[in-house]
C-alpha cells in the first residue's frame, strides 16, 4: 500500500509534524534551532508550527529537515516541501536592566508571546499537580522567582519593538486565592495596558466567583483562557487531581460560560489536550465548549521520557476527524475564529478551513488581520468595547 503523505496540505502537515516531531540532520542547525520547546518552522501558506525535535521523541519520525541551498526543506522520505526556519527573536539574547534574561520572562509562540511573571503553581506544594505538567514545563511549587512589573514591562517592550508578536499572553499557575490569581496579575496587566497599545490575554485558573472574571475584563484583558485540558470526568480527576479537587470541572464550565458572556465572541478559549483522552471524548468536549461560546483549542500531547500518559494508538488519521469536528462545531456555533490564529503550538480554526473545505487558508480578510492597520483596528475596537461594556458602580452619582 502506498504510504500516506501529508506534505501537500500545510494544515494536516502541521498536525502530523506536531504528533511525530522531526529529525534535523545538520548538527549546526540542530544546535541553533532546536530548543527544549521544539523548533519553529514556517510551512507553506504561512502556516507556523512548533515541532518537537528532541531525539528521544523523534527517533522514529519520517520527517527530516534538510538544508537546500540557502533555504530548507522538509522531507518524509518520498517527497519534500520547502520551509523556512523561524529565527529566534533577538531579544532572547538580551537581559533586563536587573540582569534577568528576557527569555526567562517571555517566550514567543507566533501571534502571541507568553509572559510568566512567576513560574509558580501551588498544586506542586500539595502534590496534586497535573500529571502531564511536571515533566513538560519549567514550573515549580516553591516560592520561586517573581519578576517585577518593571522587568515584565522591559520584556514586553522588547517583544513589541521587535514586532515579535502583537498579543501579550499572561500565564499563571494555581494559587490558593478566590481570585484565581487575578490579584497577582493585576499590576502587570494594568502596567502593560497603560504603557502599550497591545492586546492582552490571560491564562489562569477559574476564580471562585464570577465577579473576578468581570474584573479581569475591566482591567484590560482582551481574551481569557481557563484550560479544562480533559473533558472526560474520570480522566480529568486522574490526570489533573489539583484542578479536579480544588476547582472542579463544574466550576470550569460555569466560569467559561460566564466569561463567554463578558468577553468578545471568540476570545474565551479552553485547551483540550489531544491524546490524553479518547478522540470521541475530545469531540464531546469540543461540542460542549463551542456550545457555550468558548473556542476549544486542541494542543497535541507531547510525551516526555518518564510520562507515558498518551492514549495509544495515536496518529494523524485518528485525530484529523477531531480537528475537522472542531472546525464544524465552531462554524455551527458562529464563533469568531480571528482571535485564535497564527499560533505555533496548536492548529487554529483558520488553518483547519483548508482541511474541511479544501479552500486556501489565508484570505484577504486574514491579510488585513495580520496587517498593522488590522492590529490597530483590533486594539481600537477592543478598547472601545470595554469602554462601552464596563460600568464602574463606584463612579455613580450620589
Amino acid at each position: 500500500m502506498k504510504k500516506k503523505t501529508y506534505l501537500h496540505n500545510p494544515a494536516t502537515l502541521k498536525i502530523d509534524l506536531m504528533l511525530r516531531g522531526t529529525r534535523i540532520d545538520d548538527p549546526v542547525v540542530k544546535a541553533w534551532a532546536c530548543g527544549s520547546a521544539g523548533v519553529d518552522i514556517m510551512l507553506p501558506e504561512k502556516t507556523l508550527v512548533n515541532i518537537p525535535c528532541r531525539e528521544e521523541f523523534t527517533r522514529n519520525s519520517p520527517y527530516l529537515i534538510k538544508k537546500k541551498g540557502s533555504g530548507y526543506l522538509i522531507t518524509d522520505g518520498a517527497s519534500d516541501v520547502e520551509v523556512s526556519l523561524v529565527e529566534k527573536p533577538s531579544f532572547y539574547n538580551r537581559r533586563t536592566t536587573t540582569g534577568v534574561p528576557f527569555s526567562n520572562i517571555a517566550s514567543v509562540h507566533g501571534s502571541y508571546t507568553v509572559i510568566t511573571p512567576s513560574p509558580r503553581c501551588d498544586f506542586f506544594n500539595r502534590s496534586v499537580e497535573c500529571k502531564y505538567c511536571a515533566g513538560n514545563f519549567d514550573v515549580t511549587g516553591r516560592e520561586g522567582v517573581v519578576y517585577s512589573v518593571e522587568e515584565v514591562l522591559e520584556a514586553v517592550e522588547a517583544v513589541l519593538k521587535e514586532k515579535a508578536s502583537g498579543i501579550i499572553y499572561f500565564s499563571i499557575g494555581f494559587s490558593d486565592n478566590d481570585d484565581g490569581g487575578l490579584g497577582f496579575l493585576k499590576p502587570y496587566i494594568l502596567a502593560v495596558k497603560k504603557s502599550f497599545n497591545c492586546l492582552v490575554a490571560v491564562e489562569a485558573l477559574p476564580p471562585k466567583k464570577n465577579h473576578w472574571i468581570d474584573e479581569t475584563y475591566a482591567l484590560g484583558a482582551d481574551s481569557i483562557l481557563y484550560n479544562l485540558e480533559i473533558f472526560d470526568r474520570e480522566l480529568f480527576e486522574i490526570i489533573c487531581p489539583g484542578r479536579a479537587t480544588l476547582i472542579g470541572q463544574k466550576r470550569y464550565f460555569e466560569a467559561l460560560e460566564h466569561a463567554a458572556k463578558v468577553f468578545p465572541n471568540g476570545t474565551v478559549a479552553s485547551h483540550l489536550i489531544v491524546g490524553l483522552e479518547p478522540p470521541g471524548s475530545t469531540c464531546m468536549g469540543v461540542d460542549y465548549l463551542s456550545g457555550i461560546g468558548v473556542v476549544p483549542i486542541l494542543p497535541i500531547y507531547r510525551p516526555s521520557a518518564n510520562r507515558a500518559l498518551r492514549i495509544e494508538p495515536l496518529d494523524t488519521e485518528i485525530i484529523l476527524p477531531v480537528y475537522k469536528h472542531l472546525y464544524k462545531s465552531i462554524k455551527k456555533n458562529k464563533i469568531n475564529v480571528n482571535w485564535v490564529r497564527d499560533i505555533s503550538m496548536v492548529t487554529t480554526p483558520v488553518e483547519l478551513k483548508s482541511i474541511v473545505s479544501g479552500e486556501k487558508q489565508k484570505s484577504i480578510v486574514d491579510g488585513f488581520y495580520n496587517s498593522r492597520l488590522g492590529k490597530k483596528t483590533a486594539w481600537g475596537l477592543a478598547t472601545l468595547r470595554r469602554k462601552l461594556r464596563v460600568i464602574d458602580r463606584d463612579d455613580d452619582s450620589e
Binding site: H211, D214, E215, Y217, A218, K261, V262, R385, L388, R389, V390, I391, D392, R393, D394, S397, E398
Partner: protein, 477 residues
C-alpha cells in the same frame, strides 16, 4: 472597585450612550426655550430666568444623570450669570446656617462612630434585650430607630448592617428564603427610616428645609419643637411597621442562642470602654442638650460647631479619621438648593408658579398640606430626598402667603415625608444597604413598603390635624 459588565447587545448600549448627548441637548433646548419665550404676565424677567434654572435643575436632579451636587453647583453658577441674584448675594447664601449645621452633624456623627461608642451601645442593647426571636427583632428595629434620632440614618444602617448580617449567618438563616432573615433586615431598614425623621439629626434634609424656610421667610423651627411635632408619627409608624412586617413574614425560628454567641464574641472583641468613647459620648449628650436649650438663641449650627471644636481641642478625634464621614457632596447639594430656593423666592418666580399652577388645586390650607405631603412622599420614592425638598419647598412657601398659611407647617409637610421612603433602594440608602444582604429583594421591599407609604401619609396628615393643634401649631398663622 465595583464593576459590572453590561452584556446587552452592543447596539443597545451604543443607542443608550447616544441618548445621553441627546438628553443634554434637549435640556439645553428647554432651557433656551424658557429663557427666550416672551415673559408671561405678572412675572419679572429675573423670575423667568429663575424658573428656567429651576426647570433644568429639576430635570437633572430627577434623572440623576450628573451627581446631585454638580447640579447644585450648576445652579449656583447660573443664578448670578443670568442676573437673577447678584453674585455676592448668591455665594453668601451658601454660608447659610443650615449648611454649617449639616457639616457639624457629619463631623459629630463621624467622631461618635469612630470612637466605637455607637457600636458598643448597639451590641449591648441587642444582647440585653434580644433573648428570644421576637425581642431580638424588636431590639434591632427600635435600636435602628433610636440611633437614627442622633445620627444620619444612612450611617446607622451602614454601622448595624455587618452586625445584623453576622447574626443572620450565625442563626443559619438562608438568604432570600428565611422569614426571620427578611424581618431582621426590614427591621434595620425601616427602623432607620422611621427614626431618621424624629429629629434634625436623622438626615440633613430637615436642616436644609429649615434653612430654606429661614432664608425665604425669616421663620424657623426649633430642634425640640420639631421632634415634639413628629413624635406621635414616629411612635405610630414604629408600631405599624412592626405589625405589618410580622404579618407579612411570620417569625419562623424558635431560638436565638447562636445569635447571642455572635454578639458576645463581638462585645468581647471591643475590650473595655475607652476614655475616648466615654468622652465622645459625653460631648454628644451635651450637644443634644445644647441644641434643645440654646438652639434658639445661639443657633443649632453654633452649638454643633462648638462641640466639633471641643472634640478636636481634647484630641478625641483626628481630622483624617472623620474626613470619610463628611459627605461633601450633600453639603454642596444643600448649598445649591438653598441658593435656588432663594432665587425663586426673591425673583417672585415661586409666587408666580403657585398662582398659575398648584394654587388652583390647593384651595384650602389642609388641602395644600395633604397635596404637598403626598407629592413629597411620592417623589422621594424615586428621587433623593434632598432633591425633593429643593424642588417642592420653594413652590410651597410661595403658596403659604396666598393661603395665609404658616410657612413652617408647609415646611413640615415636605421635609418629613421626604424622609419616609419605604419602598425602593434608589430612594433611600438604608433600604439599599439592607437589600444588599440578599435576604430581601426589591419586590418584597416594594410590596411591604407600599403599605407603609400609604400608612405614613395618612398618619402624618392625621397627626397634623389632631396632634398639632394640641401643641399650639395650626395650618394658619
Amino acid at each position: 472597585m465595583s464593576i459590572e459588565i453590561d452584556t446587552r447587545p452592543i447596539w443597545v448600549i451604543l443607542l443608550l450612550k447616544a441618548l445621553r448627548p441627546a438628553f443634554y441637548l434637549a435640556v439645553v433646548l428647554i432651557f433656551w426655550g424658557l429663557i427666550a419665550m416672551p415673559t408671561p404676565e405678572g412675572l419679572s424677567i429675573e423670575g423667568q430666568r429663575a424658573i428656567a434654572i429651576f426647570a433644568v435643575c429639576l430635570i437633572l436632579w430627577v434623572s440623576n444623570i450628573v451627581p446631585l451636587a454638580i447640579t447644585s453647583i450648576f445652579a449656583i453658577v447660573l443664578v448670578p450669570v443670568l442676573g437673577v441674584l447678584p453674585k455676592k448675594e448668591t455665594y453668601a447664601l451658601f454660608g447659610n446656617e443650615a449648611v454649617f449645621f449639616i457639616l457639624g452633624a457629619f463631623i459629630l456623627a463621624g467622631a461618635v462612630m469612630h470612637s466605637g461608642i455607637s457600636n458598643r451601645l448597639a451590641l449591648n442593647i441587642m444582647k440585653r434585650f434580644g433573648g428570644s426571636p421576637r425581642t431580638l427583632l424588636i431590639s434591632v428595629f427600635l435600636l435602628s430607630a433610636f440611633l437614627s434620632f442622633f445620627m444620619s440614618e444612612h450611617a446607622v444602617a451602614a454601622m448595624l448592617f455587618p452586625i445584623v448580617l453576622e447574626i443572620a449567618k450565625g442563626l443559619g438563616l438562608k438568604p432570600g428564603k428565611s422569614n426571620y432573615g427578611k424581618l431582621l433586615f426590614f427591621a434595620l431598614a425601616w427602623g432607620c427610616v422611621i427614626g431618621g425623621v424624629a429629629t434634625f439629626l436623622g438626615g440633613a434634609r430637615v436642616p436644609l428645609a429649615v434653612g430654606m424656610l429661614k432664608e425665604t421667610t425669616g421663620d424657623t423651627i426649633g430642634f425640640l419643637d420639631y421632634s415634639v411635632a413628629v413624635f406621635p408619627l414616629v411612635v405610630i409608624l414604629l408600631a405599624a411597621g412592626y405589625l405589618i412586617l410580622t404579618r407579612f413574614f411570620p417569625i419562623d425560628i424558635e431560638g436565638v442562642g447562636s445569635a447571642r454567641a455572635v454578639l458576645e464574641r463581638r462585645i468581647k472583641g471591643l475590650g473595655k470602654l475607652s476614655v475616648i468613647e466615654y468622652a465622645t459620648g459625653t460631648v454628644l449628650v451635651f450637644t443634644i442638650i445644647g441644641w434643645i436649650t440654646l438652639g434658639e438663641g445661639f443657633g443649632l449650627a453654633t452649638v454643633a460647631l462648638t462641640s466639633v471644636v471641643v472634640l478636636f481641642v481634647f484630641k478625641l478625634v483626628k481630622w483624617k479619621d472623620i474626613e470619610e464621614y463628611v459627605n461633601w457632596g450633600i453639603i454642596l447639594m444643600y448649598g445649591g438648593a438653598i441658593v435656588l430656593g432663594a432665587a425663586l423666592d426673591k425673583s417672585g418666580a415661586a409666587a408666580w408658579l403657585v398662582k398659575s399652577s398648584v394654587g388652583n388645586w390647593a384651595g384650602s390650607p389642609w388641602m395644600a398640606f395633604a397635596l404637598f405631603s403626598f407629592l413629597s412622599i411620592l417623589l422621594t420614592a424615586a428621587m433623593s430626598n434632598a432633591a425633593v425638598i429643593a424642588v417642592l419647598l420653594p413652590v410651597s412657601l410661595g403658596l403659604a402667603s396666598k393661603l395665609s398659611m404658616d410657612p413652617a407647617v408647609l415646611t413640615y409637610a415636605i421635609a418629613v415625608p421626604a424622609g419616609l421612603d419605604f419602598m425602593f433602594p434608589m430612594g433611600t440608602p438604608a433600604i439599599a444597604i439592607a437589600a444588599s444582604s440578599n435576604y430581601i429583594n426589591v419586590k418584597e421591599s416594594a410590596k411591604g413598603g407600599f403599605i407603609m407609604f400609604i400608612t405614613a401619609w395618612v398618619v402624618f396628615n392625621l397627626v397634623a390635624a389632631w396632634w398639632w393643634p394640641l401643641i399650639g401649631m395650626g395650618y394658619s398663622r
